[in-house]
């Protein structure tokens, strides 16, 4: 059954996947195993995206299916989701109020086992600094859509440096207008302009093989 569920998720059969997951749990299935199956399916969706077989619409629909299944699966797992690859503080940088890229990344990062602390949009440098102090993440993820965000990314990295926090973390920048030039300008460790690549690079930054 789990194999069929896996295929349904990967094939974007939203209704079929959700109903099968419900059926599996109602029949006494193991919620943890279900979670693992969903994670694996999301991993494959990400790989298909990176290979050019899937596009943003499939990432978004895959994320939607995952969220829908998790809604009734996670409460059934004692102590919640235990697997944690690492912790990411994630936010859209100052002066940018877009959330779509950040939100797609967040679902895929969580699906692959990261704990994500989402600090929102239009996030001032100080708020990133505070969040790093408070949550001690392994990775800081900064997102932007508009070009003004590029400069905010640089200022945020600088603020983390000034606060003496840069050494202990890895920084990934992401978003529609982000490229290698932005990574260098901002002083980040990695960049991605899609969620699949972003999650793969986060694993690499943690020394985990994708």
């Amino acid at each position: 059954m789990l194999e069929e569920l896996f295929n349904r998720i990967v094939d974007m059969d939203e209704e079929g996947a959700v109903s099968m997951a419900k059926e599996y749990l109602e029949g006494g299935g193991d919620a943890k195993k279900l979670l693992e199956t969903c994670r694996d399916a999301m991993g494959v969706i990400g790989q298909k995206f990176e290979k050019g077989e899937y596009f943003l619409s499939e990432l978004i629909l895959g994320g939607e299916i995952f969220k829908n299944i998790m809604e009734f699966t996670l409460p059934k797992i004692k102590g919640g989701d235990e697997k944690k690859l690492g912790r990411i503080v994630l936010g859209t940088v100052k002066e940018d109020v877009h959330n779509i890229g950040k939100d797609i990344f967040k679902v895929f990062a969580e699906a692959s086992g990261f704990e994500v602390i989402d600090i929102g949009i239009d996030t001032p440098e100080e708020k990133f600094v505070e969040a790093v102090k408070e949550h001690k993440p392994d990775i800081v993820g900064m997102s932007c859509l508009i070009t003004a965000g590029v400069a905010s990314m640089k200022r945020t990295v600088d603020a983390l440096k000034e606060a003496g926090l840069r050494e202990g973390i890895k920084i990934i920048v992401g978003g529609g207008r982000v490229d290698e030039g932005v990574k260098q300008y901002a002083g980040a460790d990695a960049w991605a302009d899609d969620a699949a690549k972003g999650v793969r690079l986060c694993k690499e930054l943690m020394g985990i093989e994708g």
Binding site: I100, T147, A151
Partner: protein, 406 residues
């Protein structure tokens, strides 16, 4: 002897038109950019730039004076208003003013689509389009039945706080008319300044991809993508139904003597070739072809990566317009579209912001070597807005590099 503004404008115009007509001009034309840098360079905030047209005009004048691009694109900021264009598509004298919603118009409408500096966001922040969900999936039939009526009577009252009762709507529309007039007159003033400075006049109206109306203004990007899977027939019919209103809106510019429309695409890079060819491209293609029949060419901004859809452009007749690319490699695009479509783009904004004059010159030399032969190309930043921190010397380096190697 220095050229007169008329001579300079003619030289630039011929340069741009040669590229559009797939010829090799005297040198490769360079399209300019605007954005936060325009007010920052003049020393005012984005709020002042967006809301104080007099200061905004002065900022643009200074920018246009100091940075001589062949085809500048600095303007008072307005954000995409195509939902209003659909609503008023049957009234060309109204529709013609709806392409861009400026700060003062946003204030009048009280809409939830945009965020403007000094209102919802900081005074120094860039105005931003957010969009949203203002229609439910069970309303597709109503949209299909009569898009302008549905958008005007159902969507706009939900999307605009000041259009949510008939009385408020009446007052709002009067105020909006005043703002349309103000913006029209500042537009003419800026056009006059541009002419005095030797810039060519290539007025651009607007059109839109039908599916993007649904994604940007009615259902929201994520929802429309889910709708394509959940209610494919409805989505397809709705996009079809939007073709005619969009054409009517675009033709309101023809009546004013415009020969061009600008069409920025959004959902293109979200879709697989299968979905693109089924849900997006057919109706966009209809809009472009119909306008071409009416004597209007299109400049289409293929946002994001358009690589997998590149060859569909060849389905259009030769010389249909300009294909402006963001992340699609310009060299590759030119190879595919050579002799068929004028291509534009090639210069990453991160290079202009984060590069040095030397790295910019080197990049431009290399790019120009690859795309110049054979003509049919316009160089442009891959996105038209530069942040306020953009180093001035980099803008000069870009212009000089094109003058030297182009």
């Amino acid at each position: 002897m220095a050229k007169t503004p008329e001579e300079l404008a003619k030289e630039r115009y011929n340069r741009i038109m040669a590229a559009i007509n797939l010829q090799e001009p005297d040198r490769v034309p360079l399209r300019g950019f605007g954005g936060d840098i325009v007010p920052a360079y003049y020393g005012i905030t984005q709020k002042e730039f967006c809301f104080d047209y007099e200061k905004g005009t002065k900022a643009i004048e200074k920018y246009l004076t100091d940075f001589p691009f062949d085809w500048p694109s600095a303007a008072i900021t307005g954000l995409d208003g195509r939902v209003f264009s659909v609503a008023f598509s049957e009234y060309p004298e109204v529709a013609v003013s709806t392409t861009f919603i400026t700060g003062p118009m946003h204030e009048v409408l009280g809409d939830k689509y945009y965020r403007f500096p000094g209102m919802e966001i900081a005074e120094i922040a860039s105005p931003q389009f957010i969009g949203g969900t203002f229609m439910q999936p069970d309303e597709y039939d109503e949209l299909i039945e009569n898009p302008p009526k549905f958008v005007a009577e159902k969507v706009l009252p939900r999307a605009c706080r000041n259009l949510d009762t008939p009385q408020k709507t009446m007052a709002t529309m009067v105020k909006l008319g005043i703002e349309f007039t103000r913006f029209g007159s500042v537009g003419r003033e800026i056009a006059g300044i541009a002419a005095r400075l030797g810039y060519p006049s290539i007025p651009m109206g607007g059109a839109y991809a039908p599916l993007d109306i649904i994604g940007d203004f009615l259902r929201g990007i994520e929802n429309v993508l889910l709708d394509i899977r959940r209610y494919p027939d409805k989505v397809k019919q709705a996009a079809e139904a939007l073709v005619e209103p969009i054409i009517n809106y675009a033709l309101s510019f023809k009546k004013r003597g415009f020969k061009w429309v600008m069409i920025p695409l959004h959902l293109n890079e979200y879709l697989s070739p299968k979905l693109y060819n089924e849900f997006y491209w057919p109706t966009l293609k209809k809009v472009i072809l119909r306008l071409l029949e009416e004597g209007m060419q299109s400049q289409v901004f293929f946002e994001g990566r358009h690589d997998v859809h590149l060859e569909t452009i060849l389905e259009l007749p030769k010389g249909w317009g300009i294909a402006y690319f963001e992340k699609t490699d310009l060299v590759k695009a030119k190879k595919v579209l050579e002799g068929h479509t004028c291509v534009m783009g090639g210069i990453p904004m991160s290079l202009i912001v984060g590069g040095t004059p030397d790295s910019i010159k080197e990049y431009m030399k290399n790019l120009i070597e690859q795309v110049k032969p054979g003509g049919g190309v316009i160089l442009s930043p891959t996105i038209g807005t530069a942040p306020k921190e953009t180093p001035i010397e980099n803008i000069y380096a870009l212009i000089e590099a094109v003058e030297k190697y182009g």
